[in-house]
């Protein structure tokens, strides 16, 4: 169809729930695949999309949308990257993935001031003593990483069973034996102490509580999806999903489509299969909006082969 596509995603890799929540789990209802791992399906889709040279803006959340006089849109991300396009397809799934924030009254006072929900640019924390909370891969991997880089790490977890990979768990206990880590099991960080920045945290267990002096705490409790800023785009929303017309999966705002788990309509089923179908139909109307004077004729790939683009997608607009 010779339509250029640029993907914006809040998580750092494409694939949404499949890549973020269950990459190693099998799926049994994709036509043509008796079984396929979610991560493999994403890899295959990326390979299939490659000839069309799509552009990617990853790790940035689409925050706002502005309709232009000519009917096109400018989508701006949380980091200020702007994309200009005649048509916008929201394939936002469950929404954008946000870190689970612990329920501590004054936690907001210390965000980016001692409390960090994601580890970005780890170099700056190497060698610093710290507290990490959580029992998943992310918590364990970072605890091990920093302990091996010379930090003393307090790892705080609500139970003594870790969701993380077994090898990581044994490595963590080995580091504890070497005196580079302390694992606090059946424990939870309940209080944060400090004036302008974090100075100490209080760890509670059923029996007692311990104060640990630290200026760095990573609560790594995984990510949970939130519809997020899309909810404020003026779209019709019903039960956290965007209402669309099943003729072409367009929303109440012409030129903006919603496909996949993020949409709703009578008879909606949240299946990957249905997402493919919705995308295929949505693109027909998108084509008409982008090429008002042309008529699209459906052609079969078996006859035509794959007709991709020679050149890369032009670079996105510079960050403002």
């Amino acid at each position: 169809m010779k339509l250029r596509c640029h993907l914006i995603d809040a998580i750092p890799q494409p694939g949404g729930q499949l890549a973020e929540i269950y990459p190693k789990k099998p799926i049994y209802d994709i036509p043509g695949y008796p079984t396929v791992l979610a991560g493999e399906l994403v890899d295959n889709l990326m390979e299939q999309a490659a000839p069309f040279k799509p552009g990617f803006t990853l790790g940035e959340r689409a925050d706002s949308i502005d309709k232009q006089e000519d009917g096109s849109f400018i989508v701006t991300t949380n980091r200020g990257t702007q994309h200009h396009a005649p048509v916008v397809m929201i394939a936002g799934g469950l929404g954008s993935f946000e870190p689970r924030r612990p329920l501590i009254d004054n936690i907001k006072d210390f965000e980016d001031n001692g409390v960090r929900y994601i580890v970005k640019d780890p170099d700056q924390f190497e060698g610093r003593d710290m507290v990490i909370s959580g029992g998943g891969d992310s918590a364990l991997d970072w605890a091990i990483y920093f302990a091996e880089k010379g930090s003393f790490v307090h790892l705080v977890h609500r139970s003594d069973r870790f969701r993380a990979h077994k090898d990581s768990v044994s490595r963590a206990y080995a580091l504890e034996d070497e005196g580079k880590m302390k694992i606090h099991a059946f424990a939870e960080v309940k209080e944060l102490v400090g004036d302008d920045s974090l100075e100490a945290i209080v760890v509670h267990t059923k029996e007692d509580q311990t104060t640990i002096t630290t200026d760095l705490w990573f609560p790594l409790f995984g990510l949970s999806p939130k519809l997020g800023p899309i909810g404020d785009w003026g779209l019709d929303i019903e039960k956290n999903a965007i209402v669309v017309d099943t003729f072409d999966y367009q929303t109440n705002l012409p030129g903006i489509f919603a496909i996949g788990d993020v949409n709703t309509y009578p008879g909606k089923l949240k299946l990957i299969l249905c997402g493919f179908h919705e995308a295929t139909l949505a693109v027909q109307t998108a084509y008409k909006i982008i090429n008002p004077d042309k008529k699209f004729t459906l052609k079969y790939t078996t006859v035509q082969g794959v007709q991709g683009f020679e050149d890369q997608q032009p670079k996105e607009t510079a960050k403002s």
Binding site: Q17, I21, Y22, K25, L94, R100, R101, L103, G134, G135, G136, H157, R158, S159, R161, F162, R163, F221, G222, S224, P225, N240, K270
Partner: protein, 108 residues
């Protein structure tokens, strides 16, 4: 012939819903709640990965055993109590007749 059981779900406002549930449809408690339009999201679709179907089991003999995935999720979820279970990990069986659960608060 299908045999139905009775389950009581206390919603977040304290209202009780007595529902009759078939045992031969391979349902779990999350699906039952959604089917009866109770405010349970079941975001992850039943993979024990979101805790949006967390319930408190109020009838002691129905507590059952948490499986590993469920235990791991509950270690990271909000408002977890000793009687917390994930609805999606509770298959509907005859033994659950008379089960009484309360929906856990929604995550912030």
């Amino acid at each position: 012939m299908s045999v139905d059981i009775t389950i009581i779900v206390v919603d977040r406002k304290g209202a009780e819903h007595e529902i009759s549930v078939p045992t031969d449809m391979n349902l779990n408690l999350m699906e039952v709640c959604k089917g009866f339009e109770l405010p349970v999201e079941g975001v992850c679709g039943g993979m024990a990965m979101c805790a949006s179907c967390q319930v408190y089991v109020l009838t002691e003999n129905h507590f059952g055993e948490r499986n590993d995935d469920e235990e791991a999720m509950l270690d990271e979820a909000y408002y977890v109590e000793d009687n917390s279970r994930l609805g999606c990990q509770i298959p509907i069986t005859l033994e659950l007749d008379g089960l009484r659960v309360a929906l856990a608060p929604e995550a912030p």
